[in-house]
């Protein structure tokens, strides 16, 4: 059974007088422990698909099932709970809270669990260790480089051990060296920690790291390619 099942999904927007159809009957499966790159031009629906998977948006029609939950039917309260448990989200612009240290940022998802303070601290340490920033725990985002900020964001996404990690252009604001570090990290998370990853990207280098590359154009899956392992 696939971890992600998208069945006959329609999604449309009304922007002023204009009606925009993003998806018209999209069907797609993603297996557990897969590493999928979503590519395509701007407006092709990549980010919309990511938002549907994260339960941040609802399809106009059709079903989105992730980790055995039909996301599109969950009530707002259930959805937040489900998201806290199953989804790790990484943004292009890091989106760390500037008033919190790296450790406090990483701890955020754990505040929604019943873990004790000690257990939370232990998990934060492990997550920051995985991304190689154990020595930056007490640094504020402004004291970190872009690459380090994104690694903290990844630590925040993995700390609660989510079922699915979603990344939206994770290397979009990074230099080549930092991008490479993030890509190595993603690969490691998939191969070593068996995490299921979906990454939206324009960057061919990112796609190269994925095991599956999906090309979207005008909301349609036009190609399913297998990247070099």
């Amino acid at each position: 059974m696939a971890l992600v099942e998208i069945r006959d999904v329609y999604k449309s927007f009304q922007r002023e007088a204009q009606h925009i159809d993003v998806f018209t009957g999209l069907t797609l499966d993603m297996a557990e422990r897969s590493f999928t790159a979503l590519m395509g031009p701007s407006g092709s629906g990549k980010s919309t698909l990511l938002n549907l998977l994260a339960g941040l948006d609802k399809p106009t029609r059709g079903t989105v099932r992730v980790a055995r939950a039909e996301v599109s039917t969950l009530a707002p309260g259930q959805l937040a709970e489900w998201r806290a448990r199953h989804i790790g989200f990484v943004f292009q612009s890091f989106n760390l809270l500037p008033v919190l240290t790296a450790a406090q940022n990483v701890e955020l998802p754990l505040l929604l669990t019943s873990l004790s303070r000690k257990d939370r601290a232990e998990r934060v340490k492990v997550a920051l260790g995985v991304v190689g920033l154990e020595d930056r725990m007490d640094h504020y985002p402004r004291q970190l480089s872009g690459g380090q900020e994104q690694r903290v964001a990844i630590a925040r996404a993995i700390v609660a051990d989510p079922t699915l990690i979603l990344l939206d252009e994770p290397t979009g604001q990074l230099d080549a060296k930092s991008s490479q570090e993030v890509l190595v990290l993603l690969r490691r998370l998939n191969e070593e920690f068996n995490k299921t990853i979906v990454v939206v990207t324009h960057d061919a280098h990112v796609a190269e790291q994925a095991r599956t590359v999906l090309h979207l154009e005008k909301g349609e899956l036009i190609e399913k390619a297998r990247a070099a392992s």
Binding site: N51, R83, N95, P109, L112
Partner: protein, 380 residues
């Protein structure tokens, strides 16, 4: 409790703004407590008085005296157990900037009439023996640095000349509403020096039972109705309340000013909270993406609003309570027993909670209802 780190961090984001907002709430509630305490103190002063004491004044007005010869006739009225009398002296000390009440009283009967004026027995005896002496309230020791046995000179305003008294006693009122900064001296001395013997400012009577008060008052007023100095007799409480009403509708004025200040601060606090919430639109969207529910985010914003208003309330109300108590403030004797009451503190806390709701609900609802996709699109 586990979200307190987040609340604390957000409050520290613009520390100066947070501190200024807390300070404005604190100042508003300090002013509220102070103004309301003026009202409650005046009301309390108006309520002071024994139910067994009646006050007899000239029916024409309190500034008009009564013959001292009335004393015996008042004593003879059925139900009257004791009679004393007093006269407003109106003396000034030094430059006169620090006002305090000073009265000529019939010493022995006055002390019996007012057991609330607590005086050591030896000082009582010393005062009664020395016609040129006075007793003072304990506060005047601090105000002027006077000492027992010291001679102090007042300049008479109603009764001209320098009036020197030896301080033979220091009283402490057993009831906080009673002034602790009066000076009392012998009525006999006033009679002697002014050559106007036989005049009293007003009489105080002790009666056998409070229920008999109206009957006794009527008997007295009827008795003197056709005399050259008709009387007006009432309870001591009514007498004190008549002074309280001289302030006019001060309660309405004070409450109106207090609430206007609070309302102004509400706008300041609400604006600060709205600004703070607007600046964090992206962060709220990120927290929602992480899994924070609408309810949790609503609670977090309300906690911030609560932290600001309740800290301000603690500082403002606690500050007022402690300051007035520590300085023993009584507005130069005009507001004896000036103390922030529990009711005022509760009203202040109520206002702080209302401030919290009024300033926090809108930004909290905005945070809770924030559409994540639009907010994230703005971020990305």
């Amino acid at each position: 409790m586990r979200h307190l780190t987040l609340v604390r961090a957000n409050l520290g984001r613009h520390l100066r703004r947070t501190v200024l907002t807390i300070a404005s709430v604190a100042l508003a509630l300090f002013l509220f407590a102070s103004l309301r305490t003026v009202v409650t103190t005046i009301a309390l002063t108006g309520q002071f008085g024994s139910a067994r004491r009646l006050v007899v004044t000239n029916a024409t007005g309190i500034v008009f005296p009564l013959p001292l010869a009335y004393a015996n006739r008042l004593s003879a009225v059925p139900g009257v157990q004791a009679v004393s009398w007093a006269n407003w002296f109106g003396g000034r000390y030094g430059d006169g900037k620090r006002f305090f009440a000073n009265f000529a009283v019939d010493a022995e009967s006055y002390l019996k009439m007012y057991p609330e004026l607590v005086l050591p027995p030896e000082q009582r005896e010393a005062w009664l023996k020395d016609k040129s002496s006075a007793i003072i309230g304990v506060r005047l020791l601090d105000v002027f640095g006077w000492q027992l046995g010291q001679n102090v000179t007042l300049q008479g305003t109603i009764f001209p000349g320098d009036w020197t008294f030896t301080i033979r006693g220091v009283y402490r009122p057993s009831d906080a509403v009673l002034n602790d900064d009066m000076l009392l001296f012998h009525h006999a001395l006033l009679d002697e020096r002014t050559n106007r013997a036989g005049i009293a400012g007003w009489y105080v009577l002790e009666i056998d039972h409070p229920d008999n008060g109206p009957r006794i008052a009527k008997t007295i007023d009827d008795q003197f109705r056709n005399s050259s100095s008709p009387t007006k007799t009432g309870t001591e409480q009514a007498f004190n309340a008549s002074f309280a009403t001289m302030w006019g509708n001060v309660g309405l004025l004070m409450n109106t000013i207090g609430l206007a200040v609070v309302f102004a601060i509400l706008l300041v606090t609400a604006n600060a909270m709205m600004m703070s919430a607007r600046e964090r639109t992206a962060e709220v969207a990120v927290l929602k993406t992480i899994g924070f529910s609408d309810r949790t985010l609503f609670g977090l914003v309300m906690l911030e609003a609560g932290a600001i208003t309740l800290t301000g309330a603690a500082l403002g109300l606690g500050g007022a309570k402690l300051l007035y108590r520590a300085t023993n403030f009584n507005a130069a004797g005009f507001l004896p027993g000036f103390d922030v009451t529990a009711e005022t503190l509760l009203a202040g806390i109520g206002i702080a909670l209302a401030l919290m709701l009024a300033s926090g609900v809108v930004p909290a609802l905005r945070a809770a209802r924030l559409p994540v996709i639009q907010a994230l699109r703005r971020v990305e």
